[in-house]
Symmetry: C2
Subunit: 190 residues, 2 copies
Amino acid sequence: MLILLCTSSADSDKYVLENIHGRTSIRNYSDDPVPDEKIRELLRAAMAAPSSRNVQPWLFYIVKDREKLDRLAAGLPYAKMLGHAQLAIVVCGDTGKGSPNEEQKMNWVMDCSAATQNLLLAAHALGLGAVWTGVYPYAERMHVVRETLQIPDHVIPLNVIPIGYPAEYPTPKDKWNPENIVSGFDAKAD
Amino acid sequence: MLILLCTSSADSDKYVLENIHGRTSIRNYSDDPVPDEKIRELLRAAMAAPSSRNVQPWLFYIVKDREKLDRLAAGLPYAKMLGHAQLAIVVCGDTGKGSPNEEQKMNWVMDCSAATQNLLLAAHALGLGAVWTGVYPYAERMHVVRETLQIPDHVIPLNVIPIGYPAEYPTPKDKWNPENIVSGFDAKAD
């Protein structure tokens, strides 16, 4: 009797790295609805991100309402795909969380960006397509999102993530560039 | 009798989500050296992050030099673990990349945070431990990192990531919190 268990921990590493490299921005979606169970998995992944002092300053607006998606599509640049996305998740920073001093006030940006990346990676793993469309720090875009979703002043919309099943499969860009790495920088000292 | 239990795409999804949820901050490291091959995998993962207008504004300083690691450990708060980390990767934003207007100038923060999260997830997948220690926007911390690594003015250090093989295996926090989700917000409209 021969039993082969193909899955090793090495495979698990490989899948994680493949998922990171296979993820790319998806801007065309099919009409298939996205089950709530998958939306919950995306949010669960987002909330697993690290945050400064573990403040977890994120707040996620789920937008399924067609009229609101269309208003966002019309009001935001680079976000026309919201017009045919099944839903959007708007990742926001709640500046009322924690007791920030002047410098700590910025931390929600990093924390919510890490949460967004988790969300995008989980979407790709679950067979969904998504794309990060920037809102903060553009005053006009923030205004459109605030008005459409009635977001209170202490909450800042960082981005809008349209989500759906992919109707396109673009090849991810290979962005490896050794020039982005500074090592042996002693040699550069003067 | 031949039984083949091979990895299906469903398993691949599972591993990706498990890796996201299994990652946690590791602050104690063994003395085992980290091979350059793994460091390259971390950087490759970081560079696979999305960036605004695909500017890829990141720059990664690799710090292996013990004297520099010790200087960073002494000069930064919450970074004593650098004293026994095998290396650190300092994720920086190169504000000279792209041609930013006033608002676009902020985008490197989100882009480099997404790259950092990719790096942390890849580290966990590869059996390494790491932790995000914040540098930007704290003026004193940025000064210490700049001086130690001779970082030019147009490059802004976002964080310092100490890296090594784990000498501790803390249980990741369960940060799932439905109160962070705003859905059916029509009901809240007045």
